[in-house]
Every structure is written in C-alpha cells, then in structure tokens.
C-alpha cells in the first residue's frame, strides 16, 4: 500500500497552503488551478490506458480526493467507462466514485446502468448483491422503475444476502421517490415474512423507516421475530427490539396497571357482576381481568420479555440499552431490576458509551430509585472521568441518596469538594444542597458542612455555597440567624455576582433576624451601587425596599438615595424596578392604595424552591433514544404510545394460512361477538393460548417466572378440555374404544350442544360452502385415522407400512365419504373447536412447502414393533407401562413426536385415575399428556398416545405417571432416529440440499458391510429401521440416499450411503444439527456393520 499512501500524502502536500481552511472543495485560482487541471489530465490518461495497474493507481488517487472531500466530478466521464473493468478492485473503486457523484452527473451515470442490470443476473450472489447495492445507491430519479424491478426480483432471490441488500435498498428507493411507498410496503411485507436471521433485521429496519405505523404487518411475524431475535446480528437486534417495544405498547396491557387501579377497583365492586358477563364474552381469560383476579400477562408479552433477556449479555452496548429500555417501558415493575446489572457493566466501556448510559441511568434513578441502589459505589467519581461523565455521576448519586446511603454519599462528596476542577466542585455543592433538601435527617449536617465551605479560599466554592445555603435556609429559616450574619459579613469580600445577590436577598428577607446588620449592609452597598452587576443592583433595590418598610427610621434616606441612583441607571430593568418600588414605598403624594399593601407585597412568605433532578422531565422520552439524550424532540422521533386501556385482539398474532373457511369463521366472530355463545369463544381462546404457549416455550430458557407458571397451569386446564373433545371425536368416529372415552364423549356432546344453536345461522355445511367442511374433514380424517393406527398398532403390524401408504393416497376419496357420512357428532362445533390448531398444523406444513419446494412429508417406511419399558411392574406395583415410537404424525402438534404408551395392569384389582403428573422437561420441550384413564381393570391393558416435542435433542423427557394414590417417576429417551419424519424428495433436490449443508453440517464415516447384507433391500430396511427416513430414488448403483426432517424444527437430514468395492461403504450425514449428525453417523455405522 505504500504507493497508495504516497499519493494521499502527496495531495496533502500540494494543498499544504490550504489545509487550514475547512472547505477544500472551493479552491484555488491562477497557477494552482492550471496545475490541478493538468493533474486531472494525467489521471484521465491513466484511466484511458489499457493497463490495469495504471487504472488502479488513478482510481486510488481519485478515491483519495473523494475522501478528502475534494471535488473530482470533472473526471466522471473518464471514470464511468471503467465500470466494466474486469479488475475487481478497479471496479470497486469505480463504484465508490459512482455512488458519490452520480447524483451530480445523472446523464452520464445512466451509462453504467446496463452493467448493473447484467450483474443482477450473475450466478454469484455477492455480485448480485453488490450490483443491487450500487444501483440503489446512485440517486438518479430516472432509474426508479429499473430499481423497482431489480428490487422485486431480489426480494425473492435464493440468497439471503441478496435479500438483505434488497431490504437496505428499500429506504433508498423511498427517499428517491416517495410515490412508490405502497409498492415498497408490499415488498417489506414479503421481507418481514422471511425466516432468515440475516434478513429480518434489515427488513425491520426498512419497516421502521417507511411505515412504522403499519402494526398490522407485524402481527403475523411477531412470534417469529421474538424467537429469532437471539440469532439476529446485533445491529438488527437493536432495531427489532425498539420496534417491538412500540408494538408491545400498542398491543398489550400495562403490566403495572393493577397496582395503580387497585384502589379504584374496590369502589366498583358492585358493578363487577354486570361487567363480568360482558367481559367473558370478549376476552375470557386474557388481559381484561375482572377485579380481584390477578393480572394475567399476555403470553406473547411474556414471550417478548423472555426472549430479550439473554440479550442483556450482549457485548454490544446498544443491544443492552435497547433491552433495558424495553424492560423499562413494558415489563412489570418487579422485573425491571434485572437490567441494572447489565447497565452498570456498560460503565466499564468507552467514555462516550458511559456518557449515554449514565444519562439514561440518571433518568431511571428519578423513577426507580431502588433499582440501582446496590450499585451505588459504581457511580463514584474518578479523577480520570471527563467532566460530563462526572456531572452525570453526581446527578445519579444525588438521586440515589436515601437515609441509609446518605452518609456514604456525603463522605464521597467531601472528597469531591476538594477537587481542583471548579465546575465540578460547584456541581458537587449543588448536589449536597439537593441531598440536604430531600433528606431531612441530614439537612443540618449538610448546612454545617456548607457553612464550613464559606471559609474556603476559593471564591467560586464560597459563592456556590452561598447560593445553595440560601436555598436551604429558605426552607427552614428559623434559628439560623448566625448563618445569616456570617453571610452578611461575606458580602464585603465576595465578588461573584450571583453570590452577592443571594446574600442581599437573604438579608432583606430575614432582616428581622439581623436588625443591626441589615441597614449597615445597605449602606455599604449603596456606596458601591454603580459598580455592581445588574443582578446585584436589583437585589440592592429589593433590600432597600424591604428595609424601608420594616425599619423606615434608619433606612428611609438610604433607600431614597439608592432609588435615585437607580433612576439613572443604564439598564432599563433597573430603572423600571426603581420606579415601581418608589411608588410602593414612598409614593409622591398621599399614600396610594398600593402603598398600604407594600408590606404584604414585599414580605409575603415565599415558597421554598424545590431542588429537583434535572432529569425528571426526561421521562417523557423513550429511554435510550436520541431525543432523550438531547432532551428535545429529534426529527423522526415518534413518542411511545400509552398502553391501551383494553387489550386489542390477541388472536391476530396467531399464524394462520388464509383459507376461505378460516376467514369466514373469523369474520363471523368479529361481526357479532355478543350473540355468540361464549362457550365456543372460550374454546377458541384457550386454543389460541395453548398455541402461543407452545411457540413461546419453544425457545425459552430455564428462567422460571411465577407468571408463566400461572399461565401454564391455567392452560393445562383448558388443554384438557380441548383434548377430551378431540378424544371424544376420535373415539366416536372410530367407535371401537373403551368405556372411558365414551364417557368423555357424552361429556363433549353436552358441551357442544349449546354451540350448535348459534351456529344455525350459518348455513349448514352442505351445499353452498361445501369446500369448507371438505377441507376440514379431510384434515380431520387423516388425523383420526392416524390416531386409530396408533391404537391398533399393537396387533396389526405386518402390513402397517403398506396400510399407511394407501391411507395417504386414498385420503381424497375418503374425504368425500366422511364429509357426507362420517359419524362425527355436531360437525359445526367441531369445526370451530379444531380450526386454529388445524390451521397451525397446516401452516407448519405449508411453510415447509415454501422453503423446499419438492420436499414433502411422507409416511414412515417402517414402524418398529418393539416397545421399551417405561415402568416395570415391580416398581409400578402391578402397573407396567411400555412406550413405543409410532412414527406417525402426532395428533397434538406437528412438532411433537408421537409416542404410544401401553399400560398393563398385572394385578387383579383395577387401577384408577392413571394420568401424567409433574413434568420435568428440559427447557423448550413440551409434552402433551393423554386424557386420564379413569380405570384400568385387573389384567387389562390399554394404549394411549402422547406427544413430546423433544426440540430435536435426545434429552430425556422426565415425567410422573400418577395413579389414584401413587406417583412413579419415569423418563423417555428418544433414540436419535426417532426425532425425524420421513420426507420424499427428488434426487436433484437431494444433491442441491446436500451442497448447502457442507462444512460443519457434514459428518462422515466408513464402515464395511457384511457381504450377505450388501444389497439394497437390506440396507434400505436397516436404515429405515434405524431412523424415520425415506429412501430417495437413486440413479446410480451403490449409492443409497435417505431423507428426513426433524419433527420439531423441520431441519433437513440427508444420509448418503455409498457402497464401494469389497463391501466397504462410506456414510455421509448432512444436517444442520451437528450433534445429531455425529450421533447418526455412529449409529448408522453400527447398524450397517451388523452381521
């Protein structure tokens, strides 16, 4: 780089004469100009040459000029030609130049557009991205349509990097042509739906710049954003958190409201019942809790708080601050304290960061005192701190002062007072004054200390003390005449105007306490009146007037004298004041009406000043914002909205696929909420809640909050309802179950009965809306059938795989049958009850469809018949339990692994109330329990199915099985192969996906296969035995491919077995989950090498 450096400095030298000038762009005349002109000439020559290094050299010098802020626009034509250069560095520098000057030379800039358009089609994603970046950066309005086209293409680009660049381009385009806003918002909507962490940060940034009010765009993406947040790059995190703060303010209820309105509630006690019924219809268990019920936080609200908490650990101060402000603005009071530690940590960082953090902490301390009290000592001032940091620290210490900590703080202040920095000392004295006024216990001590400072050698210290003492005395003027005397004496020596004025005011105000000194002081002042500062003169006049009223004998003449002097003062304020006082004190004629009240006017008792933190009013700004920093509204700042009084519909965040029937039910509900029986509503509600609970827990950590516990409790209750419903349905349709479920069936029927009545308004599911029940039924049937399968599995093993397959293909025909004649009780109600979970199920599928077009879930190749022991009959006292992985689709949720539990009663007496008790699951895991078995007769056995979301780990799920009087701890540890679902895909897809999963996502090993087993059948059989994967048709001999995806996360798993000569085989496993990768390789090796 030595050559580059040389030229930069050379330029420096050539303009050495003008370096002092701030603006180098407008420059020389005469000789300089021609020299410059020539220099540009040789640059042009270099650019026109056909040698790359000459071009590069020229470009480097030009960039040097740009960097220096020197005008290089006359080279535009010469430079823009090189945009087609093959040399990457030349090209890059040309881009730099182009972005800088294209705006000024629009016509010429158009010449380069074709190059970018070509580059936008380049197979290399980075070239596409950089072309889009530059294209969108040259601010030439003519090309807006071209940019728009490019943008729309890039949004659907394969590469997330290009999509990210597209997100960045949106605000650029918008600033160029605001007319495009609507189109751009559509683009943003698309980008917001992106699931890549790389993209979402930038997408939200674009959202914030263009349409921060379009909350509706966020609803559907809210949970996704929360869950992805931890993995987004740090700058994106800041933007997302800020956006979510605002979102939460509009969508959730104030978590602290309960404390505030607690009292009011009692007054309205009588109204409660009336309200209740209405509220139940609106929003049963959610936000709008009737009084007395504890506030329940929206699970989405909790989700946000929980997912942002780990970010307090970020190394990036901006992220930490963003989380802190989020907690400050939307978290319940009790939880805000969490952020204090992280904020204090930031104080170790760079000075500028300290400054910003401290000013935010200062605001926080005015509102939440207790939060930072444990960290008091971290705010002690160090001599190395810059002045602005010191003042902020003082401010915070003062805010934090309480009865207990004041002694420590005052001791600390004492050392500050001796500092050599006068401004700082002054600030300290003011801080002492504030402590003294706010904490009455120490007022006396502080006052004494301050009086001690009056004899300080430094005048500024004394002056500041005087001013502060004056304020303090005003609060409790009694019994301090000594101090007043002492201060009156100071008037001889002190020269600081503010302090002199303070003394005069005080002597005048409390002249009755120093009757002898006051007139004397006035005499001295009168002598020197003309040399005083204006502020002092005004106070002399005041003093004169007050004395004249209280002690006219001694001071009348003096007062006249002073007034006369003031009459001819240069300052009109003083002349005015003099005239005004003269009329009051010694009116020319007879005593005027005002004169009588002079005493009242001058000597009325004045309210003591309130010494408040200067950060008190900063509360109005969003914490951490620029506006907060400068304490005024920055352009583009939008104030945080207040929490809504009633919660907006929380269901908007449920992710659904737009389906005609879904829309319909939705509308219906919104249209006439009151007429609907609240039962169906409640079901709906609980559904959605459990839904969100699943998603929220999916990325949760260990932190156990009381509230979330409450949540899950109430939910498990509602879950049970739902489940028994489903169960009932399945049992009635399969009509081959034990008594217990038929019991619950009757239950569910009675439940759904009231439901059917209001439903009558909707057309019965026959002709018109035939699509509706069809789809519904389709899904239902498939689920139910699977359910059946799970139950029958025990006996019908051999043709299992085959059965399932036909099932799958025949679904459509079955659908019709079931929609017309399926013995489903009260289909309408079932529809309502099931729809959200179905919707989310379908959603899960459709997302996968979108991402990997040709990959679809298929039925398992093989279903194991061996079951594992869960509870031995010895330990279970006669009750034994086995579990088996059925490899079907879980009826509860697509992210769960279905497990079949078989209970056998080995005793003679029935065992009753078999159910799942406490669950001790790893963070994130969920377990869907089976409906309680009321009774298992002696010698009988029964199978139930549960669903476990293992979160793609092989962590065991620990839970309890409870009977009426006993509890047994059991645990299910999934073999790694059971975490998958078989998927089918084409060979091409397989290789394409495999190429994406290289590097650390690939793991391989070698094994030798016994020759008798070295055939495709055995290998395929063994593989599908080992893991729930489906074979991929292969065009090559000796290569076997298998594909699957994890049940919970939908992560793709690709296994390749390449059989070489002499029975050796190489195994390659590709999967994003590295742990699973390596485990599988090991297991595959074992399995294949079995003799």
């Amino acid at each position: 780089m030595s050559n580059g450096g040389g030229s930069y400095n050379a330029q420096n030298d050539s303009r050495a004469g003008s370096t002092g000038e701030p603006d180098l762009g407008t420059e020389p005349t005469g000789g300089f100009f021609s020299a410059d002109y020539k220099k540009h000439d040789d640059l042009k020559q270099m650019l026109d040459s056909n040698k790359d290094n000459l071009k590069l050299e020229a470009m480097k010098r030009i960039v040097g000029m740009v960097a220096k802020g020197k005008d290089a626009s006359d080279l535009f034509a010469a430079v823009v030609k090189n945009v087609v250069s093959k040399n990457i560095e030349v090209k890059k520098l040309v881009y730099v130049y182009l972005v800088r000057y294209a705006e000024e030379q629009q016509d010429l800039a158009l010449l380069s557009i074709a190059t970018f358009q070509r580059a936008l089609k380049d197979p290399n994603q980075l070239i596409r991205a950089s072309a889009l970046r530059v294209l969108s950066s040259i601010r030439v309005p003519v090309i807006v349509p071209i940019m728009m086209l490019a943008l729309k293409d890039s949004v659907v680009d394969m590469s997330p990097y290009v999509r990210k660049t597209a997100a960045h381009a949106i605000p650029k385009l918008y600033s160029l042509d605001p007319e495009q806003k609507d189109q751009l918002i559509q683009v943003i909507e698309k980008l917001l739906a992106d699931k890549t962490t790389l993209v979402v940060g930038s997408a939200v940034m674009a959202f914030e710049e263009l349409c921060p009010d379009r909350v509706d765009l966020i609803h559907k993406n809210y949970r996704k954003l929360c869950n992805l947040l931890v993995d987004v790059e740090e700058w994106g995190q800041v933007v997302i958190i800020n956006m979510l703060t605002r979102y939460a303010r509009t969508q959730f209820l104030d978590p602290n409201q309960q404390d505030v309105i607690a009292d009011e509630d009692k007054n309205f006690y009588g109204d409660e019942d009336e309200k209740d019924s209405e509220e139940e219809e609106e929003d049963e268990e959610k936000e709008k809790t009737p009084p007395k019920k504890p506030y329940m936080m929206d699970p989405d609200h909790r989700l946000l708080l929980r997912n942002t908490k780990p970010l307090l650990q970020s190394r990036n101060a901006a992220v930490v601050m963003a989380v802190a402000q989020l907690y400050h603005h939307i978290a319940p009071k009790s939880e805000v304290g969490l952020v204090a530690k992280a904020l204090v940590r930031l104080l170790r960082s760079h000075r500028e960061i300290q400054h910003v953090v401290l000013s935010n902490v200062a605001t926080l301390t005015t509102i939440r005192k207790g939060m930072f009290e444990p960290y008091l000592k971290s705010f002690f001032v160090r001599p190395s701190d810059p002045i602005h940091v010191r003042t902020l620290k003082l401010e915070i210490l003062t805010n934090l002062a309480t009865e207990t900590s004041i002694s420590t703080i005052l001791r600390e202040f004492q050392t500050y007072v001796t500092s050599s920095d006068k401004d700082f000392v002054a600030a300290t004295i003011q801080a002492i004054g504030r402590c003294a006024s706010s904490i009455s216990e120490v007022t006396e001590t502080c006052l004494n200390g301050l009086v001690g400072l009056l004899s300080n050698r430094n005048e500024y210290v004394v002056a500041e003390s005087v001013v502060v003492i004056k304020k303090l005395l005003q609060m409790q003027p009694d019994s301090h005449s000594e101090i007043i005397q002492h201060m009156a004496k100071l008037a001889d020596t002190i020269t600081v105007p503010m302090a002199r004025a303070s003394i005069l005011w005080m002597v005048g105000e409390y002249s009755d306490r120093v009757p002898k000194i006051a007139p004397d002081l006035l005499r001295k002042m009168a002598k020197n009146f003309i040399n005083e500062e204006d502020i002092v003169k005004l106070q002399i006049l005041n003093l004169a007037a007050k004395l004249c009223i209280t002690n006219p004998k001694q001071t009348k003449l003096l007062c006249q004298y002073v007034l006369n002097l003031a009459k001819y003062d240069q300052n009109y304020d003083i002349r005015d004041r003099a005239r005004f006082i003269r009329q009051l004190v010694s009116p020319a004629g007879e005593k005027g009406a005002l004169g009588k009240h002079a005493k009242k006017i001058f000597l009325a008792s004045k309210p003591a000043p309130v010494l408040d933190s200067s950060f008190k009013d900063r509360d109005q700004w969003q914490l951490g914002s620029l506006s907060h920093m400068i304490n005024q509204q920055a352009s583009g700042y939008s104030p945080l909205p207040d929490f809504p009084a009633a919660a907006p519909d929380p269901t908007v965040r449920n992710v659904e696929v737009p389906m005609p029937w879904a829309e319909k039910t939705h509308k219906k509900k919104a249209g006439k909420p009151k007429k609907e029986a609240f039962y169906s509503d409640e079901e709906e509600e609980s559904e959605s809640e459990s839904d969100s609970e699943e998603s929220s827990s999916s990325s949760s950590e260990s932190g156990s909050e009381s509230e979330s516990e409450d949540d899950s409790k109430s939910e498990s209750g509602s879950d049970k309802d739902k489940k028994s419903d489903e169960e009932a349905e399945s049992s009635s349709s399969s009509s081959s179950e034990s008594e217990s479920s038929s019991e619950s069936e009757s239950d569910s029927e009675s439940e759904s009965e009231p439901d059917t009545k209001p439903q009558k308004k909707a057309p019965p599911p026959k002709t018109k809306s035939s699509t509706k029940p069809k789809k519904e039924a389709k899904q239902e049937v498939s689920l139910l059938d699977l359910d059946d399968k799970i139950k029958e599995n025990g006996d019908s093993i051999p043709s299992q795989a085959h059965d399932e397959k036909t099932d799958h293909t025949l679904l459509d025909t079955e659908v019709d049958v079931s929609s017309t004649s399926a013995p489903v009780p009260a289909p309408a109600s079932a529809l309502d009850v099931l729809s959200p979970s179905l919707a989310s199920d379908l959603q899960g599928l459709s997302i996968n469809d979108k991402t990997d077009t040709a990959i679809s879930v298929t039925t398992p190749m093989f279903v194991s018949t061996t079951s594992h022991e869960l509870l031995h009959r010895m330990t279970g006292e006669g009750l034994s339990a086995n579990y088996r992985f059925t490899r079907g689709t879980c009826i509860y949720s697509t992210s769960m692994v279905p497990v079949e539990l078989t209970f056998t009663n080995h005793t003679d007496s029935p065992v009753s109330n078999i159910r799942i008790g406490d669950k001790k699951l790893q963070a994130g895991m969920t377990l869907q329990e089976f409906p309680e078995i009321p009774s298992l007769p002696g010698g009988g056995s029964m199978s139930v199915s549960i669903g476990i979301d293992f979160k793609d780990t092989i962590q065991p799920a620990n839970f309890q099985i409870c009977t009426q009087d006993r509890k047994y701890n059991v645990s299910i540890k999934p073999p790694v192969g059971e975490l998958f679902q078989a998927v089918t895909m084409s060979e091409a897809d397989f290789t394409a996906q495999q190429s994406k999963l290289t590097g650390m996502n690939e793991n391989s090993g070698k094994v030798s296969i016994p020759s008798q087993h070295n055939n495709s059948k055995t290998i395929t059989a063994r593989m599908s035995e080992l893991a729930n994967v489906a074979p991929v048709s292969s065009s090559q001999d000796g290569i076997y491919r298998f594909a699957g995806k994890t049940v919970s996360g939908g992560t793709l798993l690709l296994i390749t077995v390449k059989v070489g000569e002499d029975n050796s085989a190489s195994i390659t496993v590709n999967c994003e989950l590295m742990a699973i990768c390596s485990m599988l390789v090991k297991e595959v090796k074992q399995k294949l090498s079995l003799a």
Binding site: P22, G64, H168, L198, K341, F380, S384, M629, I630, G999
Partner: protein, 429 residues
C-alpha cells in the same frame, strides 16, 4: 441512521469524509468545533451535539474525532458502538487506528467503510468477514502488490456471511494448530487516605487467539464458574449452554477475539495486591513528597511493572525527588509525575521522596492530588477463576481413514495464561 462520517484530527483538520447518503457539507462540523472550543480537554466534548438540522455523535479515539452525522432519531449508543467498531477494525487492520495509519491506507479505509455500512445501516462488521472481503495489508503483500500491481481485494468471495456461522470464515488451514486463552483481570479500586478500600471491583476478560483448522467446536469449562457474576459474550458463545451448564461452548472466529468479559460479584472480597503510603504536604512556596509502595495480598506472586502517576496541582513548579528504585519523570507542562517502579521487592520497599517547589506568591493547594497505580501480576487471576479444561468437539476417531473436511484430525496446542493488572486503581491522599 448514519448519514456521513468525518474524521477530524487534533489540529482540527477534517482529513477524511465519507457519505453514505447524499453529501452533507463539511461546514456542519463547525458546530462541533464550537463545542470543542468550550471544552477544557479533548475528552470533555459532549458526545452528542444537537444542531438545527443534524445531530452530531462522535467518539474520540487515537487523538481523532470520528464525527457521525445523523439526521433523524437513532439510538445514540447504536452510532457510538458502531464508530468504536470501525476504529477497532482499523486497529485490527493497520496495527493502530491513528491518523497516519488511516492516511497511509486510505483506500482500504474507504473500502472498509463502504462494506461496513450500507445506506447508514451496518452491513458487515465482523472482522473475520471483512478480512475475507478486503485483505489486510502486510509488508509482503505490499511488496508483491507494488511489483505485480495486484490488489488487496479477495479474489474469492466470502461464504461466511451466508453460512450459519457468520463470524468465522470457511476453509481455514493451519499447519500449527493452537488455541491460546488469556484470562486478564483488572482491579478497579478507590483507596482512601487511611489505606482502607472505598470501592473495589474486579472486571475480567478472556481474550483468545485461536488458530485452528476447519470448523472447530470448542468447550471451555471453569473450575469455579460461580465466581462470574455478570458476563457478556461474543456472539459465538451458545448462551443456553452457559445458562444450563455454565460452560462456554462456541465455534470460534479465526484469530484474535474477545470471548467474554465478566464482572466478579461484589460479594467476594477483593484482594488488593499493593498498598501505597503517600505523604504529601504543601506549605508556602514548597512542599514535601514521600511515597512508599509495598505488596499486600499477592498470593506469593511478584508484582511487576508498577507505575505510579500523580497529577500535581497547577501551582507546582517543579519536583526534586530521589527514588530508591526505578526512574521518575515530572512533566512541568502537564504537571504529571510518573514514577516507573518496576518490580516490588518485599524486602526493600520502593520509596520516592523529595521536595516540591511551588510558584512563588500563589497559595499552596488545599487538597492533595490523587495517585493512580498500575501494576501487573503474572500467572494469577485475582478472583481465583480457573479454567478447568478445553475440549474440542467432534475430533474424528483415529481409525477413520478418510480425512473429513469438517473435523480435521489434529491435536491442537492449548494454552491458558492468567494475568492480573490494575484497572482504574486510584489512591486518594
């Protein structure tokens, strides 16, 4: 977000400017200069300045002001943090981020700025990724470049940004695989005149130099992780594992990086390794200065590189001192006394004493100056933190004949070093 960036040296020259949106005239910096004039020292300038149309947010590092111009609401920390990241990158590239380094490498600087920010929003800030996009200069490459006229830009384009390990570049290969961990702890303390501790605090960092081939997955565990009270992580650390098991599990970036920084809980008593016995007195026209340093709780380790600095009051003219060990200097302009003590020998305590001469006529200062102390103690982490073990996950078994790309077959050389030093260690006198 960030609209423009100006770099201003200590002489007040705007020596580089970069605009990410339309061009903003450099006259906007006049507001900054105005503010700078008011400040006593360069550090005292308020980092956030509001002007009628723009907001200036700056940092001061390496004697340069980096002034970012914003036009709309933006979290100030966002900008400040980014600017620091920019300077960090410069330091990483050029060895230091000073003015001459920036001027010497202005093309790279410009290219870096172009990559790091797009339309005012950060694009690529990870050093590993940037280094793949733009190769850092080194002497050999400079020579080669001058001869062949080739460039600093990478021929191959990076893949890291696109993988799910955005901080690590792919295809790393070393012949010597090594991983070094430096546990560095700093003691912040304020000691009062009597020698008692007003405030003490331990802040630590673990800096790593990891040169491992392939995609290593490392696990670092501590003997006593409970000591760590508050930790902030490099993005590579898996937070959940830390929460659950208190181990650091990560795929490291290539090269040097800071793995974690932590704070040791204040409930632990902090062992103060040195004491300072100052005795400073002033009288009319002069004064006495007598300072002794000694080891306190050092756990048998040697206290090294002890430096004592003291900013004397403005009225001090000169100092005439005699050290029993080391050398001292007094800067009569800045009025700073620096005493380079070196190692402390417990048998013979270092002492510095002598006379102070004051400006004649001016009254002696009332307060004594504060003394700040620097020291180092090797092979000790004052909090007692100990690394238990470092594991590399996924090392391929020996039997596997095929050389897998993912997990190279090698035994890395691992090393952990402990160091304790003084952070903001201040003694009031």
């Amino acid at each position: 977000m960030i609209h423009s960036l100006f770099m201003i040296n200590s002489a007040g020259d705007i020596f580089m400017e970069k605009h990410w949106k339309s061009v903003i005239s450099r006259s906007v910096c006049d507001y900054f200069f105005e503010e700078q004039q008011k400040a006593n020292s360069p550090e005292d300038v308020n980092p956030v300045i509001s002007t009628p149309h723009h907001y200036l947010i700056h940092i001061y590092r390496e004697n340069i002001y980096f002034v970012a111009v914003c036009t709309t609401e933006v979290p100030p920390l966002f900008v400040i943090e980014f600017l620091h990241r920019v300077v960090d990158t410069f330091t990483d590239y050029f060895g230091d981020g000073g003015e001459s380094a920036i001027k010497d490498n202005y093309v790279i600087v410009y290219e870096l700025l172009e990559e790091m920010l797009d339309n005012g929003f950060p694009l690529a800030t990870e050093s590993n990724i940037l280094k793949e996009l733009i190769k850092p200069p080194n002497i050999l490459r400079t020579v080669v470049n001058t001869v062949t006229g080739s460039s600093n830009l990478a021929d191959t384009l990076p893949t890291g940004q696109l993988s799910n390990v955005p901080w690590r570049r792919a295809g790393v290969k070393y012949t010597n695989n090594e991983a070094y961990f430096d546990v560095i702890e700093e003691i912040d303390a304020i000691i009062d005149k009597q020698g008692s501790t007003v405030f003490a605090d331990i802040q630590g960092v673990i800096d790593c130099c990891v040169k491992l081939s392939g995609m290593p997955d490392l696990t670092l565990s501590f003997m006593n992780p409970r000591i760590l009270d508050d930790v902030s992580f490099h993005p590579c650390v898996r937070f959940k594992r830390w929460e659950a098991e208190r181990v650091l599990s990560f795929v490291p970036p290539d090269g040097n990086f800071r793995l974690i920084s932590y704070h040791v809980g204040s409930q632990n008593m902090v062992a103060i390794p040195v004491y300072v016995k100052p005795n400073i007195s002033f009288r009319e026209g002069g004064g006495r200065f007598d300072v002794t340093v000694g080891p306190k709780q050092t756990m048998g380790k040697m206290v090294e590189s002890v430096v004592i600095t003291c900013a004397m009051p403005k009225v001090v003219l000169n100092m005439n001192l005699t050290p029993t060990q080391g050398t001292y200097t007094f800067d009569p302009v800045a009025k700073v006394l620096t005493w380079d003590v070196g190692k402390i020998n417990p048998q013979k305590l270092p002492n510095l004493r002598g006379n102070i001469s004051l400006q004649s006529g001016s009254p002696p200062p009332e307060s004594n100056p504060a003394i700040s102390v620097q020291f180092k103690i090797q092979q000790m982490a004052v909090s007692g933190l100990k690394v238990n073990r470092l594991d590399m996950y996924g090392e391929v078994s020996k039997s596997s004949p095929k050389k897998s790309f993912t997990f190279e077959k090698y035994k890395p050389f691992k090393g952990v070093k402990y160091l304790t030093k003084a952070g903001n260690f201040q003694v009031r006198t």
